[in-house]
Symmetry: C2
Subunit: 887 residues, 2 copies
């Protein structure tokens, strides 16, 4: 046999590895039949080879004979003959490509019925109505799918019959009318095809198989393959299978069963069944199902057989399985088995339990690979407990977890209502540092503008607080929000899901975040696996964030942004004084002021992370970010209400204003413009570290220079940093000498490195690494510059259109664009290490918390990833999985 | 001899190729002596090998003997002995590294004088004062340079002598005092060095040579090498040369001579000389020099010898030479010869003349290589005729040429004053499309903000009108400009130089642009050389620009920006209507309106360029650029003076406002947002082309999609373009069928390609080229994104600091950053051609007119460059030079 394989064919390899030949469904049926030896209704698969040959050069000559042979074997097995007027065997014909594909021909059921065998079916089932209804369904299904007759040609006739029977319920159409319908359907076929409805089961079968082959090149299938980048030359297989009936009598039934609880992960048997019913009836919920355990009473033999199958399935798949079965006149048939979906809690619990279960004995590695990002997010953040919610708007899921609260539109209102004990959702067009108290008070945050690195998104993620940002459909004005025809007034209840970006009106019940015991064990295993291979750090700017990060398993701070330290109410005036300074002296005074407060900040962070490295990024954002809004000041000026101080700020604002701040005077460029700035920051940092060292702590400092574009620029910046380090070390040494009894102060070893976040830095990494002991890839900015996508502008407005139209496969700010940006990361690592083989490399963009991106970073040879504190568990798991996938 | 070579040593290779060993100066002296056999004062060169050995392991043992030997040969040649009390030979000692290097020891003259030989010099010259003045100079020079005694130790003594002599003029210090000074100088040396001033000429010589060696590692020399990336291990050579004196008597003299006129390029002898004088006297202009021709009368023999030398020089160098000579007691000595600098006109004329001159017979290729960008700019644009001008501010030279006019500060004023016959310089903070009539009226444009692609810069370059932009020192307020303490009031005369970026108060005389006849010939030769290798196109947006470009030799339009077509007074309201459209129907109405005017624009351009390709870039800039200033509208709103129409515009402005427009919704992204837009543009373009084809013209259309980041995005955009092309072709075909007698309309072949201007497009050029028939590298944007440099922000504020501090070697917006951005261009070309070997590639950024960048583009394999019309001649020349340099 060249083209046709019965389900019990002995293949040389496990059928599940032969989807290329058998298609996905065919492989699954063969696996169940020949490997697991489950009671599967017999049948055969016509392979994709046959389909390819059909497409190339028409119906293969040998195929008729092979099908004939396979059909006879099938009839032998079932003890019935297709088309037998007394006791006909019915079969289904289904397509089954390697990948599940919408647009392909789906299923023709009840094939084998004709004017004679319908009587046999009626006799066998003692149910004439059942037989004619099956025949009617077969003709219309065949007519529509195989003969391509418009569906309404059949449905209009059936509607007429229902009118005659004065019912709206299909099942109440009496058998007499069904016989008329069968005749009428046959006439429809005759009119459309100029031929009678095929009575010969062989003709029926060939027609159905050809229809499946043809559907491979249907317009929808082609479009789908284009979109999903599935090759067009794979072809599809066709599965022909004996039909069984759970609705034949009261000795029949149907059900679904899980080998353990998919919700809790606990061991035991879970599922539902119905007597005298078809598969759809269980799912549809029309009739009340019985728990699977009750099967033991009604069909004890079947129950025992099923339990035995469950055990074999778990032993075979080493996992929890989800099954569909039918009992046909007391005989159990397995229709489908597959590894089952599960909740996050269940996934964790099963993984750990299965390591102990003697029939499974999962290895640590296998257990780790079972857990997904979704599983962790489910147990780490509250979720909508109800799945069927009416989503009125979708933004970007900026910080995972769900939240419910009363809508308020200003930070002050949010804070005040929280004081009164109300749960609050803060809704803003966008947020700024002035809204922080309101954000803190809120259960969740919703904005109508901004991308995944907007202020709202970054702050919310830092706190692990649910947030949806850039929900453009939400139009906010005068303390209310309009979404299409809906209005959210102040105080209205709103629910948001920061994982999916959904916005729902009213209160959606939440399931709380309750990580099971097993989470710890899994993460411990993950840490063991990635030990020495890939570290996980966190991005944190305060002592409190650092503590959270450490508790969640961070092995250091990969990015401590110093700009947040410039934004406090007490600091902003000093920062502004520095920017406005007319003389170097004034500038120095302001810098000294700032140094004091920065030192305190650094002290807290380094103290929390004692013994672990802390990478401090010197000031990055453009100076105008620390100045008030120029346009508001201009309006004040026009209205004549501007103060002298504000006039000065306006002038400075105009001076520092930039057309494209993202590409402007930021990062190390600031240092070139304000040469004292970086020195001040490093002095503050070093003094904090030296003080801590004096107190017996172990500060490990790494200083990072942002936005480098050339070796020379980095060399200059490094010279400032080194000078400041030397200055502080020297002064502490002098101090320790003069203080009697104080321990001799050993100089701290400090690493100096740079962000790689401009394409040029990656392209010239060999030169840049001459001046850097470590690289930290700033993949947010790198992505922005590589695509020319400003997140603030493009992400909200354009990204959805780009994703929906297939112009980009993924949002490159969620998952690293390995094809493009990834080339630059790889170039950066490889070139950087050419000149400095021990170069330490990491990533501190948002991608540092995205599993798929982490896999890429691991393969590319990065030493660590750094992400927001609440992503650390996900990153630990993903890093371990990367190690396992790339042995 | 291992280390020392006399100037007449017979080297195996031409000395000018041995700068590594002999240094630059040593090579030139050896070339003059041994190859050209000119009467050069004899001497010898201590090679860089000696210096390297000295630095590694101290004074080489064999060196003393070698120097002694060379010295004796020198004395033999001169018939004099160093230190001879009766008739001493004096020598000079000079450093001479491979590259001319500030910070190196310069010159010690008169070496060999001591307490005895000074008398011999006095006797020989019959000038005791000359002898003691020479000795005084020698001691202080030697003391300062070799013995490292601070200069003021000597100068304070000399000042005292001048006080005593009651004069401020060095030459009026009487010989008696000079003798005292010599004694005092010797004491200074004793005090500082604890040793007497060396009387033995051998000691003097060794001291001077060591000082030269040491100066190689002086701090300034090291810093200079660091900055210029000169290796530190080259070492320097030392040149010891007999001194001759043009000021010995009236049978002596000195002069400079050119082998032909460096100003006009005409043949003949040019130069100046003075009897009884030193070299400095000719240059200083204290005495009135005589023309070189007069030498024939006073020194007929010398004149004949010099003419002969000139001929030999031109024959040898195949070029005009610039010489320095001295006559010492009737004997001619050549001190320096080198290829001479020349004006643009002279360069062109000489190149052509030398092709005919029988002793030179320059080839076409050599003639082409002689012409530089500066030469062409000098002849193509007016220049300051005076070199010594007081520059009060320097901005970016945005459009070459000089201009003078009366300062006006608004476009209206400028236009009105021009009407009255005044020459005008328009001074603005920055310009916008509303200033265009004033810019057109002005002789030149000066702005205080913006970079080389600011509106002012782009428009001025397009018109070939001088412009200086981003002159930050110019503070403009209330119709006057302050520059430091200077004030430019309305109507004041101002001069600007758009080549150098200089701003000068008052009127600077200009030399008009008068290209000599020879320019055409040179460019014709250039075109012959680059034929089939690299084409030159122009960037032009109007019919008039296209005509200019064609006249200047452009072989097509490489970039026709369509946004300018959106900006006319008659168009802006329609564009705004399109943006504001509430319904697809309103949008369509506006688009149809726009189509009519765009068609006219395209018609004009295609008509001018009939037979040559025109690359039309579909709309690129973000929509908000077509809306009025949001902030002004906000102020109006605050003041309550806003109209209903303006309210609408304000809302639209807010909606389309972007934080980083450079990385925002531009280019093909606009097409995704406004799907009808690109179709409209292509229809207008194709209708114009089809009309022209009907009229017997030959339109060649290339359609370019801007800002591509992915194959899929480009594929979508291409589908819109193709649909519009098909639609128009079909409708013209139908029309031509229905019109009796009209010729059958053949469909036009249209190329569809894309800009490569995001790093991602270059990185994924293999995928992108699947959907593009040509690539045009937009190196402006590519540079912005690769560096993360917004030109509007970084170029004015930071670029100078970066260049001055050596953080970047070149402004990457002037000359392509081949190390970084160049990698992406190369990647783009190579990957693009992998999938499509016949991919056409070009560049349409500003770099397309920069010779150094053009060389890179040629080497990288681009098919053409495109630049502003007035740069076309420069690009034609540079392209030919690229071809010649890369055979």
């Amino acid at each position: 046999m060249a083209f046709v394989y019965s389900f019990d064919h002995k293949h040389k390899r496990p059928p599940m590895e032969m989807k290329d030949l058998l298609g996905g469904k065919g492989a699954n049926l063969a696996e169940m039949t020949s490997v697991l030896q489950l009671p599967v209704p017999p049948g055969f698969t016509i392979s994709t080879d046959a389909c390819r040959e059909y497409i190339d050069s028409g119906w293969p000559k040998v195929l008729d004979a092979e099908i004939e042979k396979a059909r006879r074997q099938l009839e032998d097995k079932m003890g019935k003959t297709i088309g037998d007027p007394n006791d006909p065997l019915l079969v289904s014909v289904r397509s089954g490509a390697k990948f599940s594909m919408p647009g392909m021909m789906d299923t023709v059921l009840n094939l084998g019925l004709n004017d004679k065998s319908v009587h046999g079916l009626a006799n066998q089932t003692h149910d004439e109505r059942f037989a004619y209804d099956s025949y009617r369904r077969f003709i219309s299904m065949y007519g529509r799918i195989v003969l391509e007759i418009p569906e309404e040609e059949f449905s209009s006739l059936f509607d007429a019959a229902k009118d005659l029977a004065d019912t709206k319920n299909d099942s109440e159409v009496p058998v007499e009318l069904l016989k008329y319908i069968v005749d009428a359907y046959k006439k429809v076929v005759k009119t459309h095809t100029k031929k009678a409805f095929p009575q010969d089961p062989s003709d029926q079968l060939r027609g159905a198989i050809e229809a499946v082959f043809r559907s491979w090149n249907g317009a929808r299938a082609i479009a789908y393959r284009n979109k999903e980048k599935i090759p067009h030359d794979l072809g599809t297989a066709v599965n022909v299978q004996a039909m069984v009936f759970g609705n034949r009598d009261n000795n029949s039934g149907t059900g679904v069963g899980f080998t353990r609880d998919p919700a809790s992960g606990n061991s035991g048997v879970y599922g539902d069944f119905l007597v005298n019913a078809q598969g759809e009836d269980v799912v549809a919920g029309i009739r009340n199902t019985e728990p699977l355990s009750a099967l033991n009473k009604k069909f004890p033999k079947v129950y025992k057989e099923l339990m035995d199958i469950f055990h074999r399935l778990e032993t075979h798949y080493k996992d929890m399985c989800d099954t569909e079965f039918t009992i046909d006149q007391g005989k159990l048939w397995m229709l489908q088995t597959r590894v089952g979906k599960r909740t996050g809690t269940a996934a964790l619990r099963m993984a750990i339990n299965m390591m102990k279960d003697s029939h499974i004995k999962l290895s640590k590695q296998e257990a780790i690979m079972r857990i997904t990002e979704d599983h962790l997010e489910q147990v780490l953040h509250p979720q909508f407990a109800v799945k069927n919610v009416k989503v009125v708007a979708v933004g970007l899921g900026a910080s995972p977890g769900a939240a419910v609260g009363h809508a308020y539109f200003t930070a002050d209102d949010a804070a005040a209502q929280k004081e009164r004990g109300k749960r609050v959702i803060l809704i803003r067009t966008e947020t700024s540092p002035e809204d922080v108290h309101g954000m803190l008070a809120a259960e969740g945050i919703l904005t109508s503008r901004g991308g995944l690195v907007s202020h709202a998104a970054v702050v919310a993620r830092g706190w692990g607080k649910p947030a949806v940002v850039g929900a453009e459909a939400v139009k906010i004005q005068n303390k209310q929000a309009k979404i299409g025809d809906h209005v959210i007034k102040e105080g209205d209840l709103v629910s948001i899901d920061g994982t999916t970006g959904s916005v729902v009106l009213g209160e959606v019940p939440l399931s709380e975040a309750e990580p099971p015991e097993e989470l710890k064990t899994i993460l411990k295993h993950a840490d063991e696996i990635r030990k020495g291979k890939m570290k996980v750090r966190a991005n944190a700017d305060t002592g409190a964030d650092a503590r959270t990060a450490r508790n969640l398993g961070a092995e250091g701070i990969g990015l401590c942004r110093t700009e947040h330290m410039f934004l406090g109410d007490d600091r902003l005036p000093v920062v502004r004084a520095m920017i406005l300074a007319d003389s170097p002296k004034d500038e120095e005074v302001a810098l000294n002021e700032l140094k004091k407060v920065q030192k305190l900040d650094f002290y807290e962070i380094l103290k929390e992370m004692s013994g672990l490295p802390v990478t401090v990024r010197l000031l990055d954002p453009p100076l105008h970010e620390f100045l008030p809004d120029v346009n508001e000041l201009k309006i004040k000026k026009a209205l004549g209400t501007i103060t002298a101080e504000e006039e000065k700020l306006l002038a400075a604002g105009e001076q520092w204003k930039e057309f494209n701040p993202m590409l402007g005077t930021r990062g190390v460029r600031l240092g070139v413009i304000k040469p004292g700035l970086y020195g001040m920051q490093v002095e503050a940092l070093m003094e904090a570290a030296m003080d801590l060292a004096n107190e017996g702590k172990e500060p490990i400092v790494e200083i990072m220079i942002p936005l480098t574009v050339s070796r020379e620029e980095l060399g200059l910046a490094k010279s400032w940093v080194q000078a400041a380090i030397d200055k502080v070390q020297k002064s502490y040494k002098a101090k320790s000498k003069s203080t009697a009894g104080s321990k001799a102060q050993k100089p701290l070893k400090v690493m100096i490195g740079t962000m790689i976040e401009t394409p040029r830095a990656a392209l010239l990494a060999d030169q840049i690494s001459e001046n850097a002991e470590f690289f930290s890839f700033g993949t947010n900015d790198l992505t922005q510059m590589t695509f020319g996508f400003s997140r603030d502008d493009v992400e909200g407005r354009m990204m959805n259109a780009y994703l929906e139209q297939g112009l980009l496969k993924r949002n490159p700010f969620d998952t690293l664009d390995t094809a493009g940006v990834g080339q630059l990361v790889k170039m950066g690592v490889d070139k950087g290490r050419k000149n400095r083989p021990d170069l330490k490399t990491g990533v501190c963009g948002e991608h540092g918390g995205d599993p798929e991106s982490i896999h890429f970073f691991y393969k590319t040879g990065l030493d660590y990833v750094s992400c927001s504190p609440y992503r650390v568990p996900v990153a630990r798991l993903a890093a371990a999985q990367s190690v396992l996938s790339n042995p």
